[in-house]
Symmetry: C2
Subunit: 225 residues, 2 copies
């Protein structure tokens, strides 16, 4: 595939487009205009056209976008058709929650193994995923193509485990530890999952509503209602 | 506080600003220019100035932003100083992971209770949070101010539990269930946590790197190296 440099903001909107297109498909909608798509996602039609134009021509003037075709293009741009392998490091609560509830294959990933330090779970299977010992990790990495490591270890293990992963050729980390992992000169790709971002957005909207109510109440009081 | 209508995109950048300012504070940095802040966040200086101007004047020409002052302003805009109460519905893996690892109070929230249907955990405490029965929920909501419900129930319970919450006055839901909860005319505030978004961004970057390597290899082959 020919690659153009795409801005970070566009890349981060692509998964949202994908989810929206999946939703449209589920509702039996097979064609969508940039206007409709924009209004459903809080973006302007021109922003949407501009985003998609980074990757070539998808839409047709006066017709809009073909939902399955656009969906499949975006999935391909996101690498969902590349058969990436993931391993999980740390099978605690968050690791178990992801293994149980997160459908890796829906997003093009195979979760091929998990690693932990606790003897009581090493050697067992958890939802079809073998749990191996951390002592086996280096050997495992030398024998398997691992594209992404899901980091769900306790905070204090985050940095040493990352060093071990990168020393053994892992280049991408999906980081749930809330520990900052990227060194400025590092070649490692890190995506941090920040739960707080969505909670704080919600907090903003709750505050806004509180203020609106207080303002209404104040107005009502002033007008003697 | 006087409120102006702020675009959704600005609201969603505020938590990122907050995290970055916390990081600067940790590194002993107390002043930052819009240029520096922008380059660290992948935004233009003018975008940053524009974002902050929505809420009034923070920066000073030629001086930049005072990090603790800006941090405290953003925290206040996000409602982090309002003492919001949260309850959790569903104490499965993801609920336990959040209770254990997510520092609600760091973001201005108090997790005051959790609810579940399993008799074996009802009546116990988990990390200082009492686990109550779902049968007690309506009564509890009539006696406590609950600003946000953290929804960590199994998929099939998402819609009925949401209906019960809203019927009892809960207006904001932090939704981990991957089930779409918002009706277009509903007054309920919902923030969905989509793990897939960050995994797919990572997937994009891994794909990009793969393609760059393949392109380099092809060039090397053509030039007979």
């Amino acid at each position: 595939m020919k690659r153009v440099k795409v801005s970070n903001n566009v890349i981060r909107r692509l998964p949202r487009y994908l989810r929206k297109l999946d939703e449209l498909t589920e509702n039996g909608i097979s064609r969508v205009s940039s206007f409709e798509l924009g209004s459903q996602l809080g973006l302007t039609p021109s922003q949407i056209r501009q985003d998609f134009s980074c990757f070539g021509e998808f839409g047709q003037q006066g017709y809009g976008y073909n939902v399955p075709a656009l969906r499949s293009e975006i999935a391909s741009i996101l690498g969902m058709d590349r058969g990436f392998n993931a391993i999980m490091i740390g099978v605690g609560n968050i690791g178990r929650a992801l293994t149980e509830n997160f459908n890796f294959s829906e997003w093009g990933f195979r979760l091929i193994a998990a690693f932990d330090v606790r003897p009581e779970i090493i050697g067992t299977m958890f939802h079809d995923v073998p749990i191996l010992s951390m002592d086996e990790l280096a050997q495992y990495l030398s024998e398997h193509k691992v594209d992404v490591a899901v980091l769900t270890v306790p905070k204090e293990a985050a940095v040493p485990v990352t060093e071990m992963l990168t020393a053994n050729g892992v280049e991408a980390i999906w980081n749930f530890t809330n520990v900052e992992l990227t060194a400025p000169d590092s070649k490692i790709l890190v995506e941090n999952v920040h739960f707080s971002d969505s909670l704080l957005s919600l907090s903003y909207f709750v505050s806004e509503r509180e203020d609106e109510r207080a303002a209404r109440a104040a107005r009502a009081e002033r007008s003697g209602v």
